[in-house]
Point group: C2
Chain length 397, copies 2
């Protein structure tokens, strides 16, 4: 009973995140879970806000008849209305219910959008380092990923994007706040990206898509203002989820929103709904659609993530690590003190610290720390980070 | 902002089920919902069993810390163990936790399995009439659907399947109890199918897959014994869900089970888990995984569906309709009294009765009735069915 050759090849080059996760499981077996400092997976440690727990209890106490049945593939009208209302307030643009399609998380939403727009061989431009699943998602719909470099501080390199846009380009996919770097693209970057896409669309005689993966949108620090891509380019499609802001990653609840400024928004929505159905998602989980509708302005306590960022960033910097100070998400992406990021990550493992080598995100020589963990895990790991840094500093001398 | 050409073409040939659903919505607006008899969608009207509601309430009252977080892509260990235990008891085969992958419903599960096994151009044989989404699911992974006729009573036509198996064949996909016919394949059919697949696998020098879509497995009538495909062919993969047995279709909870008799089951599971992740499902919804685990032997009251089948079948037969008496699911698939099934379905619409033309399932000249509705909807529609039958009988004279 042979499996697909394509999948077999992919399994052999298994995800670094997954590989580290599995080696970590082994370490935990050996040393006990509490003695392993696991920063491998971006799995939020915070519980959902009390408002969500309350809503779940209210629904469980007084179930609504039919609440587990199929609904239209786009999702419940009330949920889509609540989200449209929120997006309208956030952007000032005339979002309506019809612009929102509920999806099985942001991963489901990205697959839906890519299926809706891609034909065989179409290219999607992705700034790198990047979340490697994007490659699978794009290829699932017959597309090709085209990576472009970011600047040294991981900000958008607009001239690299400009150079990459060609006859085959269908979309640019940006993720801000970013996984794996934690970097947030600023207002000017989005405005310039919007101008560039308008110019290129005119030249190509067709409208390029801007897909924004905003799964970490609510997790931003330093009171920064987050730019709104919808206001910078009319052919924007936002994909997001409540995995991080409401700490519900296991529940698979997210949505796709198409800009109301897009003249063929209706066709795009129809294509997304079709993709949602035929890719086998069918609809976003019913119960969660109901729960998140009134919680559009709620979120976990972001300040907790910010405090962890501060502790981790300040400590690593003091130990001599070089890293960009991230303003969002819950990732740090330091430069490895030696060239070989895999060797370095293995060295950290000898201190029972689990991270992911940068090559797992298209950027060898770096490593990713996912710090959505309890503070004591960070505190427990800091001595190990320090020792390894000192070891390499000594070796260099 | 153009959508995919492939999707555009598919949208133009939109699903008949969907089209009927939408025309029905219009009828409901015109006549009031209670005056339209909607048999277009297989959307279970029964509420989940009390045991599920109780489990939801218990969990909402005492949430388990971390219960909404990511878990391994294959699902919770406890849930998979409970299902393996159930399958072991049902089949007598040595199912273990590792043979089960939790999925986003059966539709998600089918996409996962097809992605795991198909390479470009591989063929999947499907007996027709069939659930048309299968075609999309197969094509999503680069495969081709190969339809084969069933017998007049919609039972498996084994010589048609034998003739269709060739160099490109990768799998046979059967759905029993069947959507749209409600027919249940008997023990002998599965045994002969197993023998045929063993013979053909030997001839081809590789093992063909048998994929069984058993979403309606619990919904069987007349106290019939349901055959177990796992016991008839070692390279069997079951895909199912709790959409129908626990009435949870909107929650998207199902699973894939790989036969423990399959010598490369481990690789198949690894491929399925990879597909679950990279297709963007990531994992089956966490909360539902937890709720269904202890309810493997529970189900809605099947007798209610059986009574509706009896009422509907007996009445239609009395009105002169020709139809196979279905022994499962909640569908009837009568012959249309005139050749043109679409014209006939429109005639029923004039009586405010919504059904789906047989061509929506690859079988023109028939029509599908989904009777998972309240009894009074059936009772309300019967006079209309009678009038239309009499009209065509009068015209024929």
């Amino acid at each position: 009973m042979a499996i697909s050759k394509k999948v077999k090849a992919a399994l052999n080059g298994a995800s670094w995140v997954r590989r580290m996760f599995e080696e970590g499981e082994e370490l935990k077996r050996l040393h006990g879970e509490e003695n392993v400092y696991d920063f491998s997976l971006g799995n939020p440690n915070l519980e959902p806000p009390a408002s969500l727990k309350k809503a779940l209890k209210a629904l469980a106490d007084c179930p609504v008849p039919g609440m587990h049945r199929y609904m239209p593939n786009c999702g419940y009208s009330d949920t889509r209305k609540a989200i449209a209302e929120y997006l309208k307030e956030e952007s000032g643009l005339p979002f309506e219910e019809k612009h929102v399609v509920m999806t099985v998380g942001a991963a489901g939403g990205l697959n839906v959008v890519l299926k809706a727009i891609l034909d065989e061989g179409d290219e999607v431009i992705v700034p790198s380092p990047y979340f490697m699943e994007f490659k699978s998602y794009i290829e699932n719909s017959g597309g090709q990923i085209r990576l472009v470099e970011t600047n040294d501080d991981f900000s958008l390199n607009l001239s690299a994007i400009e150079k990459a846009i060609g006859e085959k380009t269908e979309a640019v996919l940006v993720n801000s706040p970013n996984n794996p770097t934690g970097v947030v693209y600023d207002q000017e970057s989005f405005e310039k990206l919007g101008e560039l896409l308008k110019k290129k669309s005119r030249q190509l005689g067709r409208n390029l898509h801007l897909i924004t993966d905003e799964a970490y949108r609510r997790i931003v620090f330093d009171q920064i203002h987050l730019p709104n891509a919808f206001c910078c380019y009319p052919h924007t499609i936002r994909v997001t989820s409540h995995s991080k802001d409401l700490s519900l990653p296991g529940e698979r609840i997210g949505y796709v929103a198409v800009s109301p400024l897009c003249e063929d928004a209706d066709e795009m929505i129809a294509a997304a709904v079709f993709a949602n159905r035929t890719l086998g998602f069918v609809n976003a989980p019913a119960l969660m659609q109901r729960l998140v509708a009134p919680l559009q302005k709620n979120s976990v306590n972001i300040r907790e993530y910010e405090e962890k960022r501060d502790l981790f960033y300040n400590s690593l910097t003091a130990f001599g690590y070089q890293l960009v100070k991230p303003q969002g998400a819950f990732y740090l992406f330091p430069k490895a003190p030696i060239e070989d990021d895999v060797a370095f990550v293995k060295e950290l493992q000898s201190k029972r610290i689990l991270t992911v080598p940068g090559r797992g995100f298209g950027k060898p020589g770096y490593f990713r720390i996912a710090y959505a963990v309890n503070r004591k895990v960070i505190e427990g790991a800091l001595p190990g980070f320090k020792e390894v840094a000192e070891k390499y500093r000594a070796e260099k001398k």
